[in-house]
Symmetry: C2
Subunit: 412 residues, 2 copies
């Protein structure tokens, strides 16, 4: 009998009707002969509602108490889902992260799983009961309740699937799978039949919901097959495995991320360790740095540019100004209202011409590139935020992502 | 340093403002040198809201899952209260019932405490941290989360006060103490300075909030001093101890309970075991029987009357009709829309004339008595429901309960 871990996100269990629908699916599937273990997120906006309550009673709520509060959301949802399944005649039982055997470190609000001893979950499955585990939670080695952070239910599900040696980990959400780009921007966006862990990891932060990066990392490390699919249409979605180019795809998606800012420090003395000093200082002030580009040195001086979330621009600027004389820099320029647009595809590493066509496409459409950064399976360009959606649309079309891979013209 | 267990009911922590006010009281008191351990109920109507959700997703929610769901209410409240206290600079930490060491039996929705090993609570108190324990919950010997039932937070508080050997267990609510009767019916109702466990146990079910009977039983068994008081006025309330007649009181209160029905089975053959058969049959059908009166036998036959909650009248009638021939009964009569009015006072057992004056008072006011039942410290009369509030008022006045005990005329 196949063993499947099903994870339901917040929108999938947002209200009683949704919970009943999920229960009906689970009961039907269990009766059809599959063995199931469930992981559920908090209902709809519950996590935000709880955080809002916390800010109403305290200016600086202790993180230990925040975890006690927030994990209650997933716990409530897992009890309700277990009730709804039982009510359809299929035995089900809810388990907190602690009861499910999730042991974490003590880093409250963002704890890491140290180990899982899912004996109660295994017993439940063995006796035909559907276990329903509260997502994103565990008990620390200090016996305190911990939260794994936003998106932590995906992590719970993937880690549980590994611990149970499940056949697949199905991540249910409110979209039908992973798309070639955000369907709200490009209506022709294509739901991919399959993709790879590496590609998914490069598709950061566009509008379309995707599994939490941390969960995908774990899935990649332990080779847990994922299936990203919809709890609204219940149609097959996107399979994610370690195999690349399963569809012989060169490019799989275009993603974008707005809210970026760029800082350029010019005239920096080009000697070893100079970049390290700058980025250590930024890290010490908790400034998130995304892309870093250092231009080729000329006459012993160089320009260093990096991007940060726009809300950290002033903190970043402060650090840079403090470091300016130490770096021997001649100037600092900042640019806000930028966006990053990326092409992702495991096939591109063997295909010359992807970056070239990307730059050409943007140029033909009058979109200037502020910064370029690449990895083996991704090319990212920073452009003005006002051009981001248009950039996504023209790239999606230029690379024919609306077509199934075998129908696309090959790249030169 | 005195060690005090403070329990806050649902109205005391109903919203953010209330939680902040409770936190301010606790922080002030802890700074004044008292050692505190807190127990909190779920916020306002949270328990009802959660139950409502359960009925939306399942017709017959399993009790294990109900407990997982409902105990989330107290857990949320204890996290928020701990945050609010911490925010005022006094260290505080929340604990679930399980973390606080409450081990229960496996009777879900109405579990009994088997033992308490409150090591984490003791450690917290010793290091100057205010522990805030989720009320009405524990972990069963099967490692499942259990709910102690409605009003269970009082039970948690009293049991914890015993386990910690606390000086007093303060039960905070939205009224200023235990009243001589329901102040909404008799505005002159007096807040008692003190009363005894036994008296409190006899004052069942009138409108004025009082500690849960089960908690009072535990307090009596282990001699835990209670202080019933208000989290709105913060004024001293009613002290409850094992000492009776601390104020030299004969009568302490008038209580009433509406929604009663009476069944009279007449012409029953008067032989040993006949009543046992009837009440065993009623118990087997889960009919709650409150007062039982068997009239003196005449000519070998007797009448048996008993009261039940009105919503169980039809079930009771069905049982009685089934048993009729077996009992040799000649008739069954039912009366709905009744109420019980009781006088309670530990002093009455040594004071003749209490019952007499009660009956006289009711008669003078044209209120007919349907049934009488007494204990050592209580006299109860069943009257028509429409007369209940007037009965309470005239009895309160006749026994001068609005006055401090020493100013009352003595009873003949």
């Amino acid at each position: 009998m196949p063993l499947i871990v099903e994870k339901y996100g917040g929108t999938s269990v947002a209200n009683s009707n949704r919970i009943r629908e999920v229960a009906a699916h689970v009961a039907h599937r269990q009766r059809s002969g599959d063995q199931l273990a469930l992981v559920v997120s908090a209902m709809g906006s519950e996590t935000d509602d709880l955080l809002h309550l916390a800010t109403n009673v305290a200016n600086n709520p202790p993180e230990r108490e925040l975890d006690m509060l927030i994990t209650g959301g997933e716990r409530k949802a897992c009890a309700l889902v277990a009730m709804a399944i039982s009510d359809l005649g299929v035995p089900a039982a809810s388990f907190t992260g602690s009861q499910a055997g999730f042991v974490t470190d003590t880093k409250h609000t963002n704890a890491k799983i140290l180990r899982i001893t899912p004996n109660r979950i295994k017993d439940a499955v063995a006796e035909g009961t559907v276990p329903v585990v509260g997502g994103s939670q565990g008990m620390s080695v200090d016996k305190d309740i911990t939260f794994l952070g936003r998106g932590g239910s995906d992590t719970t599900a993937v880690a549980l699937a590994h611990a149970l040696n499940a056949d697949v980990c199905e991540l249910y959400t409110d979209v039908t799978g992973v798309f070639s780009t955000d369907p709200r921007i490009v209506p022709e966006a294509r739901c991919m039949k399959s993709t790879s862990f590496r590609e998914l990891l490069e598709m950061t932060a566009n509008g379309c919901p995707k599994p939490a990066m941390r969960a995908v990392e774990i899935a990649r490390t332990y080779n847990v097959k994922l299936h990203v699919r919809s709890a609204f249409t219940w149609t097959p979605g996107t399979i994610v495995t370690g195999e690349e180019n399963m569809e012989n795809v060169i490019i799989s998606s275009v993603t974008h991320k707005i809210g970026e800012a760029k800082l350029t420090v010019s005239g920096v003395v080009d000697r070893p360790g100079i970049a390290a000093q700058l980025f250590r200082a930024l890290a010490d002030k908790d400034v998130n740095v995304d892309m870093i580009v250092q231009n080729v040195s000329s006459k012993g001086v160089t320009d260093i540019s990096f991007t940060s979330p726009i809300d950290q621009l002033s903190a970043a600027r402060e650090v840079v100004n403090m470091m300016k004389s130490k770096l021997g820099a001649s100037g600092v320029r900042t640019y806000d209202n930028l966006a990053r647009v990326s092409l992702v595809g495991a096939g591109m590493k063997n295909t010359p011409g992807v970056a070239a066509r990307m730059f050409e496409t943007l140029a033909e459409n009058g979109i200037n590139i502020e910064l370029i950064s690449t990895s083996a399976i991704r090319v990212s360009c920073v452009v003005k935020a006002e051009h981001a959606e248009r950039a996504v649309a023209v790239l999606h079309s230029a690379f024919e992502l609306e077509k199934p891979p075998h129908e696309r013209a090959s790249l030169r």
